[in-house]
Symmetry: C2
Subunit: 431 residues, 2 copies
């Protein structure tokens, strides 16, 4: 609008010169100047900052984040500015995840979505009614840039499941211009999948397996009251193709379901919690604090949070996954040596530190390890897995044996677990 | 700005009539009209709706919420428009809670805060840099009204811990103009405490004990990585004064701590998760679905979620709490009869329903009761409580005996548990 106001004022100047009495023009000009000022009042943005400051003043947008260092939670919070995170799907979970990372001062965000904002999205956080009709990527960039101009935002308005889209997706992930010194094939540090369909998850899975890219998957159930997050490290954990979801195994095409007007329920609460757990896990992964969860479920009806670990499936249908599994096995001696060296280094520098905070203002319980292990064990035991997926897939140890690397502690899991699983699924479908 | 544009166009009309050549005025008018259109583009609001529709169209802001009924989660979602919720503290948790309830279409929100928006708040969700300097209540109303004009918003810019503020607070809670048919002394259905200090929590506690008002408390630790929510039903559960927080017991004045420039860390993730759990628990409470959690902790470093129940303390220092405890005990025969009648009614109408959804698209695990009970038991056993609060307070059964109501199943807890607790706290402080 600034340009338009300038043109209007110029025209007034021209008109003034042609008139004998300039008084009406003066009045008009004061009107226009007033309007120009009003139009600038909102939005005003904060300016960029050069370095994250830990100064405790109201005007410092990073004081409460840098305090994480003083509190002993994070060693070096400023590193956050070096990281690139790609978010696929800017819906109920992805948009909130993007806002959280933006407010944390992440270095660079890559956003992927092909959809537009609708009023029907207003029951989730983030998008506003005045953004209806905009692409989700444009609307997100508009909001996020205003919140934190320090974050480098790149948006891709496209469907990653098309041939063209998938190519653009992988090539955007390999772009290293933001951090040229980054090792490996990928230019991002983490990919977050916040999509709502199987095809898109498989596309993210394929790209990440190919690029050796660690990613996290998230999802919310159709009835809006459950969700989960999952960490996927190619070769080390199960990939998304290792454990086929039930809906695919049962032969129902999800696209058909959607076309038939099935309207999934959704709640800002469940999606907000899942986004929060996802970004918290991402921060722990990137900034190296706490324990990164391999899988965390959220059953909101009972406030139950199951956890589990899923090892890769040696019979996975994804060729890139099998390659990553092989590499992971071959690198075992190297990993063991590194772990040993780290353990020795830690032991030699270990200092007996007292508790950082003597006070516990609001009874926040940090439960001692002993008890927590019990709970985790209960939650991750095979009995608590969803029906039809109660048996663990063949463990990586089996694969290890197959490629003839000595493994003394191989577990006695049966080779035909996957067959069992398929039979169970068929029985479920027949019922 | 609309008024200003109108005035400008009127002046142009006057000028046009006084000129021999109207051409320059035509050009000016088209400029102004263009600007007026631009200024209206942003923000535009959605219009109010009369009734919540479950129609599956992109333009329906309630389609995904009404789907909760079709999915069998909620019996009657439309009831949400009848409820009033008061949120005390519009900070990192309270603002997000307010946004979630607004997007869910809550009937009426009462917002209390005395603080102003600062850039230092930008590491949490909700407030925007262009709102810096506004009161949090004004900024919240601005944002929430734009998101959902159907919600009745009432804001109170004041400190509820002052004498005057406390009076205004209680009288606002007793206002029944929104739902004149509401029973009991309070005009709201739920109070959410999202404050960051002891005094304000005690003020909410006092008001709710006096008004027999159910409320939920929330909190996030100073190191930003833990939080909790708690349900408080006067007389039935522990009130906030029943279990004194450690910081008070240890004799440290929190106001002194704050004045000395201690800057607590905070994260949008932890606060988003706590707000999500708080509002989810509120929705379960208001709309009568799932299990309302009496206490739910969130330890983000380990993704551990302890649960527990806290019964009222018969030696509680809060007189109103003791009155509510007495009333609760006296109403036991009535409650028992009602529970029996409900059980019989349920049994006679019970229909053997199959599972609502055969598919489990994304492996969301709804764990069977058996296993969950084990986990809950582990998490809520006294061993997992924070140190210094490991012993349960004297249970309500003791009180029941004291007021001479027969209680055959009284547990053999010791009367001097509170004394034990105090001694432990003193030992901790001395160490």
């Amino acid at each position: 609008m600034e340009v338009e106001f300038k043109a209007l004022l110029d025209d007034l100047d021209v008109l003034e010169k042609s008139l004998s009495d300039p008084a009406p023009i003066h009045k008009l000009r004061s009107h226009v100047e007033n309007l120009a000022t009003l139009s600038k009042c909102n939005p005003h943005r904060r300016s960029k900052v050069k370095e994250l400051s830990s100064e405790v003043v109201d005007s410092n947008p990073y004081s409460r984040l840098m305090a994480l260092q003083r509190m002993g939670i994070v060693d070096n919070y400023e590193r956050i500015r070096e990281f690139s995170v790609a978010i696929v799907g800017i819906g109920g979970v992805g948009s909130v995840a993007a806002e959280m990372l933006t407010r944390c001062g992440i270095g660079r965000l890559l956003l992927y979505d092909y959809d537009t904002v609708e009023l029907a999205n207003m029951n989730r956080l983030f998008f506003r009614p005045d953004q209806v009709g905009m692409t989700k990527t444009d609307a997100a960039v508009q909001t996020l840039a205003e919140i934190n101009p320090d974050v480098v935002l790149e948006s891709f308005t496209m469907n990653i499941t098309t041939v063209q889209g998938f190519e653009t997706f992988t090539s955007s992930l390999t772009n290293k211009s933001f951090c040229p010194s980054k090792e490996g094939g990928s230019g991002v540090d983490l990919v977050l999948s916040c999509v709502d369909n199987y095809e898109a998850r498989m596309a993210v899975n394929q790209a990440c397996n190919e690029l050796r890219q660690t990613w996290m998957e998230s999802g919310v159930s159709e009835d809006a009251v459950s969700g989960h997050i999952q960490l996927l490290v190619p070769g080390e954990t199960a990939c998304f193709a290792c454990a086929p979801p039930l809906v695919v195994a049962s032969g129902i095409d999800e696209r058909t379901l959607k076309r038939e007007g099935v309207c999934a329920a959704s709640l800002p609460t469940t999606m907000g919690v899942v986004a929060g757990l996802l970004v918290q896990n991402s921060l722990k992964f990137l900034l190296n604090f706490g324990e990164v969860s391999p899988y965390l479920g959220y059953n909101s009806l009972k406030d139950f949070f199951p956890t589990m670990k899923m090892r890769p499936n040696p019979q996975c249908s994804n060729v890139a996954c099998l390659q990553r599994q092989k590499e992971y096995m071959l690198a075992k001696p190297e990993r063991d040596a590194a772990a040993k060296a780290k353990m020795e280094a830690d032991a030699s520098t270990a200092i007996d530190e007292g508790p950082l905070h003597d006070d516990n203002e609001w009874n926040i319980s940090v439960v001692d390890d002993e008890n927590e292990k019990d709970t985790t064990k209960a939650a991750s035991s095979s009995d608590t897995l969803p029906e039809g997926l109660t048996r663990e897939l063949p463990v990586a140890d089996e694969y290890e044996k197959a490629i003839a690397i000595a493994s003394g502690s191989g577990e006695t899991e049966e080779e035909d677990d996957l067959e069992d699983l398929k039979k169970q699924l068929e029985a479920l479908n027949a019922a």
